[in-house]
């Protein structure tokens, strides 16, 4: 009998996750491991990678690499056996008012959030297409975008520029890769209880600004985002491509 509720699992799938040392990336590695994926975790911080490895009882491959190091990341990806899922997650933010944005901040964000994200998406897609039965097996790419990929917020011109860009990349890639049965989507969270957001939210005014803009009255958890990413990665989402899952407690519905 046909199951009307599909099982969300990643058995026999290999997932590469960038920015896996902290926050959403780390939680996604844990969630995907839980539902059976083989994980390749990429991050800059050795100590954090070791802690993740320990958490998952060594059943995970960790590789230390800065996603901005094109030579290194391309070598790493080329040397892998296979990739079925990419969680293109590494990203950063340097909030500044538009008139005060430093040239160096602009370049940092464009390098990491846009160029490195594009390069890794392309390198991983090349790898995915190496599998002969890709069309039958399918593939899934998830970009970590943001609600600021859909709407603006104060001091976030550069961040919004890069995340709106990711939304465009998602749709363009989805259209180009559909014939190979590789699906491409993004997740757009509101503020999530990550180490980075916790720093912002420690500021009372900022906390008030954030919570008063979320109709559900709470920020998202790392698990909320990791679960949505895991769903998109799995065959349970096999008709979902070129779209975003917005995990924002209603922020952008206003």
């Amino acid at each position: 009998m046909v199951k009307f509720l599909r099982d969300i699992n990643l058995k026999n799938k290999t997932a590469l996750i960038t920015g896996a040392t902290k926050g959403i990336g780390r939680s996604t590695a844990i969630a995907m491991h839980q539902v059976g994926a083989s994980i390749i975790a990429i991050g800059r911080n050795t100590k954090d990678l070791l802690s993740l490895k320990k958490r998952l009882k060594n059943r995970i491959k960790c590789i230390e690499c800065d996603v901005n190091d094109y030579e290194k990341i391309s070598k790493i990806i080329k040397n892998l056996n296979r990739i079925d899922v990419l969680v293109n997650n590494a990203g950063t933010n340097l909030p500044e008012p538009f008139l005060k944005v430093k040239k160096s901040s602009l370049e940092t964000l464009l390098n990491t959030n846009t160029k490195a994200a594009f390069n890794i998406a392309k390198l991983c897609t090349d790898k995915m297409l190496k599998l002969k039965n890709r069309k039958k097996f399918g593939g899934s790419i998830i970009h970590t975008s943001s609600m600021f990929g859909l709407v603006a917020g104060p001091n976030r011109t550069v961040y919004s520029m890069t995340k709106f860009g990711l939304e465009g990349l998602t749709k363009g890639m989805a259209v180009d890769l559909a014939k190979s049965n590789i699906r491409v989507n993004s997740v757009c969270p509101t503020f999530v209880a990550t180490p980075r957001a916790k720093k912002y939210l420690a500021n009372k005014d900022f906390n008030k600004y954030a919570l008063s803009n979320i109709p559900l009255g709470r920020i998202a958890t790392e698990s909320d985002v990791a679960t949505a990413i895991t769903y998109l990665a799995s065959d349970a989402a096999s008709m979902i491509t070129g779209t975003n899952i917005i995990i924002d407690g209603g922020w952008t519905a206003k």
Binding site: F4, V175, G217, D224, G250
Partner: protein, 254 residues
Amino acid sequence: MFKKIDLKNKTALVTGAGKGLGKACAIALAEAGAKVIIISRTLSDLIKVEKLIKKTKGSCLKFECDITDIDKFKIILKKIKRLDILVNNAGNNRPEHFTQVKKENMEYLVELNMKAAFNVAQMCSQKMVELKSRKKVGGSIINMSSQLGRVGAPIRSVYNMTKFGVEGLTRGMALELGKYNIRVNSMCPTFVETPMVKNFFKNKKFKQQVLENIPLGRVAQENDVSTAVAFLAADSSSSITGTSFMVDGGWTAK
């Protein structure tokens, strides 16, 4: 952590549950552990769906009701102890060229897809809010929309009007019900292999046009949609509200 789709101890009401997507959603919610209340105009259909739900060892209550009959629907709700989930699914389509749309068809679709959908949503929300611990337990409403709630299509002006309306209703409801922890989202599928669509596809030219517009090159299956509805119904999506969940194979990404 991955948050599994689990609807134990939840009661869900599904309208238009006799056939197609409504039937698929009702069974999927039962497979996830929910008690399901199924509503349809056609008793013989309800009896068949009830049998399928019992096969999943799920529990089910059935009520024959045309949802445009508010008074009858109100009486049904009085017989129900509690409600945690609504799949506001009943709807119809009468494709006609804009200049040829018959007044009676326009009125029928507005009555059913908008007015009845609104009334059902309002009455069910009132029921949901009655539970004292609602804020803690949470609630979820899924309005059945369509990809044609986001983009236009030939001979679908009335359908477009009603489904864009459902998108607006979803956002408005999400803002107002956020404080009760009731989440409201819409489901936007592309063409799904339902009895209604199979009928449209007897026209070969139409079928070809549809497939050319879906980058993934295939129509959705009922369980693509019912799985996504179960995800939105469950606490797996506890920070997702006021959004449109696209299951369209990339149709709207273009």
